[in-house]
Symmetry: D2
Subunit: 210 residues, 4 copies
Amino acid sequence: MLVKDWKEFLIPYEQAVEELKVKFKSIRKQYRSKSEYSPIEFVTGRVKEISSILEKAKKLDIPLNRISEEMEDIAGIRIMCQFVEDIYKVVQIIHQRDGKDLRIVYEKDYVKNKKESGYRSYHIIIKYPLQTTEGEVEILAEIQIRTLAMNFWATAEHSLNYKYKQSIPENIKERLKKSAELAFLLDQEMSAIKEEIIEAQKMFEIKSSI
Amino acid sequence: MLVKDWKEFLIPYEQAVEELKVKFKSIRKQYRSKSEYSPIEFVTGRVKEISSILEKAKKLDIPLNRISEEMEDIAGIRIMCQFVEDIYKVVQIIHQRDGKDLRIVYEKDYVKNKKESGYRSYHIIIKYPLQTTEGEVEILAEIQIRTLAMNFWATAEHSLNYKYKQSIPENIKERLKKSAELAFLLDQEMSAIKEEIIEAQKMFEIKSSI
Amino acid sequence: MLVKDWKEFLIPYEQAVEELKVKFKSIRKQYRSKSEYSPIEFVTGRVKEISSILEKAKKLDIPLNRISEEMEDIAGIRIMCQFVEDIYKVVQIIHQRDGKDLRIVYEKDYVKNKKESGYRSYHIIIKYPLQTTEGEVEILAEIQIRTLAMNFWATAEHSLNYKYKQSIPENIKERLKKSAELAFLLDQEMSAIKEEIIEAQKMFEIKSSI
Amino acid sequence: MLVKDWKEFLIPYEQAVEELKVKFKSIRKQYRSKSEYSPIEFVTGRVKEISSILEKAKKLDIPLNRISEEMEDIAGIRIMCQFVEDIYKVVQIIHQRDGKDLRIVYEKDYVKNKKESGYRSYHIIIKYPLQTTEGEVEILAEIQIRTLAMNFWATAEHSLNYKYKQSIPENIKERLKKSAELAFLLDQEMSAIKEEIIEAQKMFEIKSSI
């Protein structure tokens, strides 16, 4: 494909990312407008770079005329949460929309079952119906849901991999894995503190009411 | 209603305006990305001011618990076109989406049948399904489609009405009507020139091929 | 230049357009927040397409290593007003900033002295100081100030010229010029109505106070 | 002050935040466009809520007519980095702009000298010259520069403090402090890994060239 054709191919993906970003950001706004706690801290989105699409197609042996059916993360949405529990609230919100403005294809819970590398996130692959100048099309998109700590680790790992991928020796991979455990401990500790505070408040209220 | 309650009431309208703006703007992008002429020049949107909602509810005798069913322009989208013909292309694009991501309630063609005041625009009232934290809701919205000349006139008329509404004498209303005719002539003249150029090009091509 | 080099060359222009758009849009917000009439109706901005830069450089005989000094409209800002009088208020606002966050190079008043084609607008060429990762640079930018009617005509003329430029015969150019006069009459008529209403209001107030 | 007056008071702060966000985001774009590593990962900004301004004014005993001179964080910009080293690169970039489009008032390095609570971030207080409809004004603004891990911890601490502030017992504060140490270890570990990889690459290149 020529650059011009790629640009045209990517147009519906850009549109899908735009619409999904607006939709998930509005969930946060709705909570905030009612002064309620929002399980969504912030939302980002991106269309995969042409070079990365080509690289991935080659690696996974996907013929170019099949990428819109087989490559699931050309359109990508990332939802960041503060606490691990919030991830599952967001998952539930997306489940409730299944069959309405999006359709869930499958899910992978890398939060409970972390990857070998240490990577943690909840992935939902969806089909998103899109109105274009040539009628309705369905776009594959990947939604990644993670805490800020998971995001910190994943972003750093990605940029290290990106810069040094040819020469990361095993012992460094091991260190990365350990830092992932640190990020995990951090999430756990924060959740625990949250629980403990709630507990302390209940005790306080019971005492007060005696 | 308290200001706080109004804010909460308006949240889904704001979300609907955001989503519809993204959707109609992307039509323009799609045409441009294929180097084709876009019938849409630009898109704006707004949620009606609380003060204007109250004023209109009073004028039309709509009880406050009925405004979400009876006031059609709390969420408003405006689509600007270059030529009158483009308006009907946009209308056709919206018709094709009827029953997909929106539902047409009714239409008013103030382009062919201008208002007494001189006002011209094509209005489509839609219901727009919205996913909220409390499930799906359907939002009434008004889409106005007009040329830049119609928009120029309507904007100026609106701001004159707004500033001086108590004291516009009949003779000035008459002048406003005449200026609407000027705007109409301008649209007609531009369309005619467009036609003539296309005709001239055909003549030129016929000559060239002899 | 390679596409990659062009992209890098255009980066500061994109940044300048972004900053100037934010700055001029905020003028409108300031007026609105005080419930005052804003002389600015809306603001757009764009960086010139590479193909258009090359075309213009060729036409004006500008060597490529001189375009940042000699091509004044690579960064372009357009400010739309409702009434002709507003144009001069905006000009005055820009004059007050001269030597502060921008520097005026020269001005052309195509409102009072319209172009042969019928084109009307007020142009201000500025130098805008920009902080980059490589220190401060000064960017040439063109600010066009016009009414919505001027903008309607200029946009239509531009798109007709663009599509049919090879074959516009003299008689059609003549018609375009006449339509420009219509747009001019429309502006004049709207200004006149505005004046008359103000006059009528004064009469009304005098009568009331007798 | 009435709500209306507050809104007017906050207008220049909103403008300053908008302009500063555009400016710092463009630094990232500049690096990316040259395919260079950007020390800035992302940028956010906000104007302090009226209720928070009032609360802080009361706590610090600032009279309301002095808040624009004495409250430094009404306009706030937050710059997120991937690695601790990047924070100091961003600080250097801001130093280079001192006296140009902003003026540094003072700085606090809570990265090297963390707060009692465990909080880490680099703060720069600036004065930012702003062109308004009423001439130039200088706005105080606070720039916070931190890693994603620092941001994760600070965000969580903030929301815990916000929700439970009346009843956080000492032992829970202690746990929060420990989790801050975890976040610190995470940053250190990531930096160390980065260094080790660079070292490994050098070794690899030396071997290759033998």
